[in-house]
Amino acid sequence: MMFRNLYLRLTGDYPCAQLVEAVTEYLEGAMSPREQTRLERHLSICPSCEDYLVQFRRTIDLCGRITIDDVEALPDPARKELLRAFRDVLADESSDPRA
């Protein structure tokens, strides 16, 4: 019981269940300074939440290592058509007496 009180005093009674919902807000720097201090105090004494934060950062890092190249490229006819449209806008403008 004594240990529990000490633990709660040190962690500011910040539950781990609350931390896991706040990680993105924390990483985005969107927290109030007070809230951030509470979270950091908890982190400094809770190795499991520290592990969780490391995993979360690792997840973000891994997302940055994949690409969106698996989506098929624009099919050629559409590309040609668009390039023609692009050229034609110029032609229209130069034949426009107001231009």
Partner: protein, 220 residues
């Protein structure tokens, strides 16, 4: 290969790209098409129900870019401007479809209690330490580096992102896969900072959870 850039102009710089487009430099427009068609289409797909409609939305976006480039005021980056056009086009297509097709709205993805971690992994209110870990995460440091970054791990990440609801998928793709900052994403998708953060958090939490399952299965 009809369009060989005259010099290797740096089209990643709006200061080079925008004037080139206004000069109707075809290399510039070709570069734009190659660079953005796939990501725009993927984003469009989160607003409409099928690939054909997504392709149509992208095509309309390109036409809007062609006709609008001279009026583009450069208050945002060209990229953000194009994404905004795409989102508007795709959204209105999605709304038209909505009459017949079930469509995941932003509201549906933001509402409701969606937990980052299964609540059962925390101690309940009868415990001395309610809300603290009962089944804490196991550090991934034990994983060998080549496994942690291996092809299989990356395919888990890609699959987890693909399985997300459309709006969460859009946000995590732009933020964490493509590396946009939050202001760019909010502008392009026309969502608030808070909504963006909620969507991103839910998306990241699910990807983390998928990775955790993957590493746990491997450990067995």
């Amino acid at each position: 290969m009809p369009f060989v850039p005259a010099a290797s102009a740096d089209f990643t710089d709006d200061g080079v790209l925008v004037p080139a487009l206004r000069r109707r430099d075809q290399a510039a427009f070709g570069w734009l098409l190659d660079q953005y068609s796939a990501p725009l289409r993927r984003l469009a797909r989160s607003y409409v129900s099928n690939d054909a409609a997504a392709a149509e939305a992208v095509q309309e976006t390109w036409l809007a870019v062609i006709t609008g480039i001279d009026r583009f005021e450069q208050r945002s980056s060209l990229k953000t401007w194009m994404y905004r056009i795409l989102v508007n086009v795709a959204r209105s297509k999605g709304v038209k479809e909505h009459r017949t097709v079930p469509f995941a709205s932003l509201g549906e993805e933001l509402d409701g209690e969606e937990r980052a971690v299964d609540p059962q992994r925390f101690r309940d209110h009868r415990d001395h330490w309610p809300g603290h870990w009962a089944a804490p995460p196991v550090a991934w440091d034990e994983e060998p580096e080549d496994h942690l970054l291996g092809r299989e791990t990356l395919s888990i990440v890609a699959a987890a992102i693909a399985a997300l609801p459309p709006n969460q998928r859009s946000v995590i793709t732009l933020r964490d896969v493509q590396g946009w900052d939050s202001v760019e994403v909010c502008n392009a998708l026309d969502i608030s900072e808070t909504n963006q953060r909620v969507l991103l958090h839910r998306a990241r939490s699910k990807v983390r959870s998928a990775l955790e399952t993957h590493f746990e299965e491997d450990a067995q």
